[in-house]
C-alpha cells in the first residue's frame, strides 16, 4: 500500500482531487493509479480494505473520493462502502468486472455514487470529480459553505475550460446559496470570510448536543420527526437542518448495521456482553419505539424503556427489525401469530434493541445461558469494539460520555426466560434459553418482577433507560397484575417482545402521561434500583429452567393489546 501525501486541497478543483483507490488486484491498482494521475488527481492506492479504512480514519479530511473494487478478499466492497459513507461521508465509486444489474443495484443501494465496469476507461475516471462537487453542493455544512461557494464559483469561472461544460448556472448557484442562507443560522459574513475556518470543521455531536437532539425527537414524536422540526426544538442557533439530517441518516445506517451484526453475533453465541452504548444510541424515544400513532400508550411509553430512541436509530432499527428483529423473534411472533404485533413492534424493537446496547446485564448466575438470549438483542447494540471500534467511534465518543455520567441503575434486565414472545421456543433458534432480557422500568413497588438491574457499570445505556424507566414505573406497577410473566419485558433484542410487553404494561397501567423526557431522575432510579435488585436476584438459568407460562404471557399480551387497541400480533 502506497501512501500518498494527503494535503488539504490546494489546487483548483478538480485538479488535485484526492482519490483513494482500493483494489486487491495489483495490476488494476497500478493502472488506475496511472490513469488518475493523468487526470491530475492526487492518488493513494491500497490493496486491502482494512488498510483503506484505517487510512481514511487517520486522515479524516485527507481524501475527497474513494474508488473501490467490489470483490476483495478481506472485506466485501459493499461493506467498505457502508463504512465510508457512514463514518467519513465521502462519495464512493464501485468497480467490478461484473456488470450484472443486480450487482449494480446493490451498489447503489449501499450508497455508491457510481458503478464502473472493468475495464475502466480513462474518460470515466476523468469525470469522477462531479461526485465530489455534487456532494459539496448538497451538503451545505455551515463551516464549509463558504468553501463550497468559493469552489463552486471557481469552477464556474473555469467552466469554459471544461470539456463537458457545466450545467450549473448562476441561477442555480444563487438558489443554492439562498437555500443555504435560509438554513444556515450561522451564516454571517464574519464566519464565512474566514477561509481558515477550515471546511474540515464538521459539526461535532457532543453529548449535550446529542441529548438535545434526542429530546427534540422525543418531543416531536417519532413518526412526525423531521430534521427541521428537530432543529427548531433543539434551539441551537448554529446548527443547520443539514447537520441534523445527515446525523440522522448516519445513525440510522449505523444502527441497522449493528442490528445485522447483532443478529450475526447472536448466532455465534457470544457470551459476555459488554454494552457500551453511546449515549446517542441510547436515547430512545419511547415514542419512537412504538408506533406513536398506533397505540397511544404504547408508543410512548413503551414500557419502561423509555428509551429515547434517536430518531435515526429508531428508523434504522425499524428497518432492521423488519428483517432483524423479526428474525430474532421470528418463532415467537410467528407462533403467536401476531403478525400485527410484529409490525407494530417494529418500532419498539428498534428502540429496544438499542436499549439493549448499553446494558451490561449483571446477574452473575445468569451469565452464561441467559446471556444467549440477551446477547442477541444486546449484540445489536453491543459496541463492536474488538472488531471495529472505530467505525462508530464518532458516535460513541460523542455519546458515551453522556451515558457514563448518568446514573446507572435503571436498567433492568429482566432475564425471565418466559419471553412470552419467545414462548417456549425461544424466538431465536439458537438460543436455548428463551431468556428475554427485559428492561423494565425500575419501579420500586412492583418488585415482583424480576427485572434485573443492569450492571451499573454500564452507565451507558442505563442512564437512558433510567429516565425512561422512571416513567414507566407507573406502568410497571401495573405489571404486577400480570402475574405470570410479570415484567418480562423483552428488551433489547426483542424489541418486538419488549414492545409487546411494554405495551401491554402501559396499557394496563394507562401510562399515558409518561414523560419520556424526564431522563435523569436519579431519585427514582435509585429507588427502583434498590428495590429491583432486591427483588430480582436475577437468575437467568433458574428462570429459564422453569419456563413460565409463555403462553400465558402471550395471551396476556394479546389481551392487553386488544384491550388497548394496540395491535399486538397474535
Amino acid at each position: 500500500m502506497e501512501s500518498g501525501f494527503c494535503s488539504p486541497r490546494t489546487e483548483a478543483f478538480p485538479a488535485g482531487l484526492r482519490v483513494l483507490v482500493v483494489d486487491d488486484d495489483p495490476t488494476w491498482l497500478k493502472i488506475l493509479e496511472k490513469m488518475l494521475k493523468k487526470c491530475s488527481y492526487e492518488v493513494t492506492t491500497c490493496c486491502l480494505a482494512r488498510d483503506a479504512l484505517n487510512m481514511l480514519r487517520e486522515r479524516k479530511d485527507g481524501f475527497d473520493i474513494v474508488i473501490s473494487d467490489v470483490n476483495m478478499p478481506d472485506m466485501d466492497g459493499f461493506k467498505l462502502l457502508e463504512h465510508v459513507g457512514l463514518e467519513m461521508d465521502l462519495p464512493v465509486i464501485m468497480m467490478s468486472v461484473d456488470g450484472e444489474t443486480s450487482r449494480v443495484m446493490k451498489g447503489v443501494q449501499h450508497g455508491a455514487c457510481d458503478y464502473l465496469l472493468k475495464p475502466v476507461r480513462m474518460k470515466e475516471l476523468k469525470n469522477i470529480w462531479q461526485h465530489v462537487f455534487r456532494k459539496k453542493i448538497h451538503e451545505g455544512k455551515d463551516v464549509e459553505s463558504y468553501e463550497c461557494m468559493r469552489e463552486i464559483q471557481m469552477i464556474m469561472s473555469r467552466s469554459d475550460e471544461f470539456d463537458d461544460g457545466h450545467q450549473l448556472n448562476g441561477g442555480e448557484l444563487g438558489a443554492t446559496r439562498k437555500r443555504k442562507d435560509m438554513e444556515n443560522r450561522r451564516h454571517d459574513d464574519q464566519e464565512l470570510v474566514d477561509p481558515s475556518s477550515s471546511k474540515k470543521a464538521r459539526v461535532v455531536w457532543s453529548i449535550d448536543l446529542h441529548q438535545k437532539f434526542v429530546d427534540a425527537v422525543n418531543q416531536i414524536g417519532f413518526d412526525k420527526v423531521g430534521p427541521k422540526k428537530i432543529l427548531d426544538l433543539m434551539n441551537v442557533p448554529w446548527l443547520t437542518r443539514e447537520n441534523v439530517a445527515s446525523h440522522l441518516q448516519k445513525y440510522r445506517l449505523y444502527l441497522s448495521r449493528l442490528q445485522k451484526e447483532n443478529e450475526l453475533k447472536t448466532s455465534e453465541g457470544m457470551k459476555q456482553q459488554d454494552f457500551t452504548c453511546p449515549a446517542g444510541s441510547l436515547g430512545f424515544q419511547t415514542s419512537t419505539l412504538i408506533h406513536p400513532k398506533d397505540a397511544a400508550n404504547c408508543d410512548l411509553k413503551y414500557t419502561g424503556n423509555n428509551m429515547l430512541l434517536i430518531d435515526m436509530g429508531t428508523r434504522i432499527c425499524r428497518e432492521a427489525d423488519k428483517k432483524g428483529t423479526v428474525s430474532i423473534l421470528p418463532m415467537d411472533l410467528k407462533e403467536t401469530s401476531t403478525s400485527n404485533f410484529l409490525d407494530s413492534q417494529r418500532a419498539n424493537v428498534s428502540s429496544q434493541t438499542i436499549l439493549s446496547r448499553p446494558f451490561n446485564y449483571q446477574s452473575s448466575q445468569s451469565n452464561t445461558t441467559s446471556q444467549k438470549w440477551n446477547e442477541a438483542p444486546m449484540e445489536q447494540f453491543k459496541q463492536p469494539p474488538k472488531q471495529e471500534p472505530e467505525p462508530y467511534a464518532l458516535l460513541e465518543d460523542d455519546f458515551s460520555h453522556a451515558l457514563q455520567s448518568a446514573p446507572q441503575h435503571l436498567v433492568q434486565v429482566d432475564l425471565q426466560c418466559s419471553a412470552y414472545s419467545v414462548g417456549p421456543g425461544t424466538a431465536v433458534p439458537e438460543r436455548d434459553k428463551p431468556g428475554s432480557v427485559m428492561i423494565t422500568p425500575v419501579r420500586s413497588q412492583s418488585r415482583s418482577n424480576h427485572s434485573q438491574i443492569v450492571n451499573p457499570e454500564t452507565s451507558d445505556a442505563i442512564s437512558n433507560f433510567k429516565v425512561g424507566m422512571k416513567n414507566q414505573m407507573v406502568g410497571l406497577n401495573c405489571l404486577n397484575d400480570c402475574e405470570p410473566i410479570q415484567q418480562k419485558i423483552f428488551t433489547v433484542g426483542d424489541s418486538s417482545l419488549g414492545s409487546q410487553v411494554g405495551c401491554a404494561y402501559t396499557e394496563s397501567i394507562g401510562l399515558q402521561d409518561i414523560d419520556l423526557l424526564d431522563y435523569y431522575n436519579s431519585e427514582l432510579i435509585d429507588e427502583l434500583e434498590t428495590s429491583y435488585y432486591a427483588d430480582l436476584g436475577l437468575n437467568w438459568d433458574n428462570d429459564c429452567d422453569s419456563v413460565q407460562n409463555p403462553f400465558v404471557d402471550q395471551s396476556l399480551f394479546t389481551a392487553r393489546a386488544e384491550a388497548s387497541g394496540v395491535c399486538y400480533p397474535g
Binding site: 488486484d25 496511472k34 470483490n71 475495464p119
Partner: protein, 185 residues
C-alpha cells in the same frame, strides 16, 4: 506502400476488419468489415514496421482488445515502459491465481463456488491488459462452474492456461521487438 520524400505520412491500405491505424498513430475502430484507408506514421526502419505489423495482428487475431490501447495511451515520458510493466505485473500476479485454481481443481468434490470466485478474479485481472482470448476462456470456465461440470471445468481451464501462455510469449516477443526498434531509431 509508398513513401513520400518529405512527409512522415503515407497511405496504407489496411484491410483490418476491426482496427486500423488512425492518423495520429493509434488504433481506431472500423465501423464495418470494409477496407479502410488510413494514414500511418512513417516507419523509418523495417523493425518499426515489423513492430507495427505484429501489433496489428495481435488485435486482428483477437488476442488483445481496446484495453491494451488504453494502456498504450497511458504510456508517457514519466512511464516510458508502462505497458510492459503492467503486462509483467499481470503475469506475475496471475501465476498466483492460476495456482489457486489448480489447487482447487484437485480437491474432491469440486467446490464450484470457489472455482468461480477464483476465475472471477482471474478474469478481472486479465481484463486489465486486454487479454481478450484469455477472458473468453475464463467466461467459458465460469459457465461450466455454473453447470457444475467438473469435466468442463478441467477442460476449459487447460484452455485458459494455454491462451494465457500463448499471449505471454507473443507479448514478450512484441516488447522485445519494440525495444529493438526503439533503440534502432
Amino acid at each position: 506502400m509508398g513513401k513520400t520524400v518529405r512527409g512522415q505520412w503515407h497511405r496504407e491500405i489496411l484491410s483490418s476488419p476491426s482496427l486500423s491505424l488512425s492518423p495520429m498513430g493509434g488504433w481506431q475502430r472500423n465501423k464495418g468489415w470494409s477496407h479502410s484507408v488510413t494514414f500511418t506514421r512513417m516507419e523509418r526502419n523495417p523493425l518499426q514496421r515489423q513492430v507495427a505489423y505484429m501489433r496489428r495482428s495481435l488485435f486482428d487475431q483477437g488476442y488483445l482488445d481496446e484495453q491494451f490501447v488504453q494502456l498504450e495511451d497511458l504510456q508517457d515520458d514519466a512511464n516510458p515502459n508502462f505497458v510492459e510493466e503492467i503486462v509483467t505485473l499481470f503475469y506475475t500476479d496471475s501465476a498466483r491465481l492460476i495456482h489457486n485454481i489448480e489447487q482447487a481443481l484437485e480437491s474432491r468434490p469440486l467446490d464450484f463456488i470457489r472455482l468461480d470466485d477464483y476465475m472471477h478474479q482471474f478474469k478481472g485481472s486479465s481484463s486489465s491488459i486486454g487479454a481478450k482470448k484469455v477472458k473468453n476462456e475464463c467466461t467459458q470456465f465460469r459457465e461450466h462452474c455454473s453447470a457444475r461440470s467438473a469435466e468442463g471445468c478441467v477442460r476449459t481451464f487447460q484452455q485458459v492456461k494455454q491462451e494465457h501462455t500463448i499471449l505471454r510469449r507473443k507479448l514478450e516477443t512484441y516488447f522485445q521487438l519494440a525495444r529493438q526498434a526503439g533503440l534502432a531509431n
